[in-house]
């Protein structure tokens, strides 16, 4: 019953947030700031994680499928498929749910407990629209960039393994695997998923932050809850979207 009530409140809040902005100039200004804060500031962590995970995936496959029956180029092929299909969208968004989601929830939550949201409401401003929509739009607009960066640097990570040790995989075999049976739709599929996940992360975090009651402790709790709920929803929608888009 409580979950149903929360879902109802979430839906109403998002409907309030998705409205025509009071001032377009202010909306674009806010969105620009959010793109920098939520998106550009996340680039380094996306690159760092993608390179290492790309390298580890290649090494693990090589170490665990080390049999003459499986040609070496398949390690490159499997690395590409894992990175394109799941890592650059789902796993990256699970990581970003922690960074971006907690950022949104704590920022809006702090504004709630310090009466800044009440101040907006008193002025006659739709606070949900003013605070939440720029964050949702900014993150959904920038997530394809993060997703593509993740794909690129994940593949680079695999290359690094080839450079470090040709016993694990040779560069030529890795490149052959990357090109083998490539289906460009996987990139589109990954980007579609990441945009949906960006909506889930930003809207759920905003909901938890907007409805904080209490003080600093509750802001922390809201931040944690938003990450947990976003992660659950990302995994649920991963299943649904895979069924819808790939089968």
């Amino acid at each position: 019953m409580k979950a149903l009530q929360n879902f109802g409140e979430y839906t109403l809040l998002i409907f309030r947030a998705i409205a025509i902005p009071e001032r377009w100039s202010e909306f674009f200004k806010q969105t620009g700031k959010e793109i920098y804060k939520l998106g550009v500031d996340s680039v380094w962590i996306v690159i760092f994680i993608s390179v290492f995970i790309g390298a580890v995936i290649t090494m693990q496959i090589s170490l665990n499928v080390n049999t003459p029956l499986v040609p070496q180029f398949t390690f490159g092929y499997v690395t590409r498929e894992i990175i394109l299909l799941e890592f650059s969208s789902t796993i990256m968004c699970l990581i970003l749910a922690g960074k971006v989601g907690s950022n949104i929830a704590s920022e809006i939550g702090t504004m709630r407990v310090t009466e800044q949201i009440d101040a907006l409401d008193i002025m006659g401003i739709n606070s949900a629209n003013y605070l939440i929509m720029p964050k949702m739009v900014a993150f959904m607009v920038f997530i394809p960039v993060l997703s593509i960066l993740s794909m690129f640097f994940g593949i680079i990570g695999g290359y690094l393994v080839g450079f470090i040790s040709s016993d694990i995989i040779t560069i030529a075999n890795y490149e052959l695997g990357l090109r083998y049976w490539f289906y460009p739709y996987t990139i589109v599929y990954s980007i579609i998923k990441s945009v949906v996940f960006a909506f889930i992360i930003s809207s759920i975090a905003a909901y938890f932050g907007y409805n904080v009651k209490g003080g600093a402790l509750q802001v922390g709790k809201a931040s944690t809850n938003s990450v947990v709920m976003s992660s659950v929803m990302i995994l649920t929608f991963d299943l649904i979207l895979t069924q819808l888009l790939l089968t």
């Binding site: 009071e22 001032r23 202010e26 702090t110 504004m111 310090t114 009466e115 800044q116 009440d118 101040a119 409401d121 008193i122 002025m123 006659g124 401003i125």
Partner: protein, 257 residues
């Protein structure tokens, strides 16, 4: 003028406001006083439309806020200014940007005009020179003054202050009280102040409403409050040693004189 008629508000089974009726007049400082948990914050939130009462009327110059549609309420809110207990300045903006914010959202003035108006408001509250500082870089008193500057930026008809001098030293608290009182008279605003500070009451209490356990227990002025035969009010007023001693001295002087 704000007219409150038979206001009732409850949360679940607990009735927090019990049939409150009063009038807040323009050009004077109207104070709502009472102990913590007496219902004064709930009354204030009902007045500004952040809460919906169970029954009753709140009329702003005849317009009932409870029966208003969303758009009407939005327009009315542009006639309101509010000073919050913690000032509620936007952390990510400088003091000047905070004061300019309502002008940016609701006027078509150029940046130069908005800046000029914001600077005028900051000068009015003696904050010239602090315009480029962030809220985290200024003192509590300066934050309150910035909050007042932001509240008056759009020339509001109604000014609401929630505990305007909480957390301030007595001297700064008096400065804030005087500033609110001066601005009220200058712009002929209807000012409603929520406080439990007796120094404020004695300084600017031109009209005082005492709320006790959700009921309006007394209404009067600062000149009358010391000589009222109301136990709950007397307990509140003479809770501090200072006011008790003032009262004792007054009584002694009366007996001798």
């Amino acid at each position: 003028m704000i007219e409150v008629k038979h206001l009732i508000k409850s949360f679940d089974d607990k009735v927090v406001l019990k049939d409150i009726s009063t009038i807040f007049e323009p050009g004077i400082t109207n104070l709502i006083i009472g102990r913590s948990g007496s219902g004064k914050t709930v009354l204030m939130k009902n007045l500004i439309g952040l809460m919906q009462p169970d029954s009753g009327e709140i009329r702003y110059n005849g317009r009932n806020i409870i029966a208003m549609k969303k758009n009407e309420l939005k327009l009315l809110r542009r006639e309101m200014g509010m000073l919050f207990q913690g000032s509620a300045l936007f952390d990510s903006m400088t003091v000047l940007e905070n004061v300019m914010f309502p002008l940016t959202m609701f006027t078509k003035d150029s940046y130069k005009e908005r800046c000029k108006r914001a600077m005028f408001c900051l000068e009015r509250v003696n904050l010239k020179g602090a315009e480029n500082l962030y809220p985290a870089e200024i003192s509590g008193g300066m934050m309150k003054r910035s909050g007042i500057a932001r509240a008056i930026a759009l020339n509001p008809k109604y000014l609401f202050c929630d505990e305007p001098n909480s957390g301030l030293d007595p001297k700064t608290a008096l400065l804030i009280d005087d500033l609110v009182s001066d601005i009220t008279k200058e712009y002929k605003m209807t000012t409603v102040i929520n406080t439990h500070d007796m120094n404020s009451v004695m300084n600017i209490g031109e009209k005082i409403i005492f709320i006790n356990q959700g009921r309006k227990a007394w209404e009067g002025t600062k000149d009358e409050i010391m000589n009222v035969n109301n136990k709950a009010l007397n307990d509140f007023v003479f809770a501090s040693d200072l006011f008790r001693k003032v009262k004792e001295t007054e009584n002694l002087a009366e007996q001798e004189g």
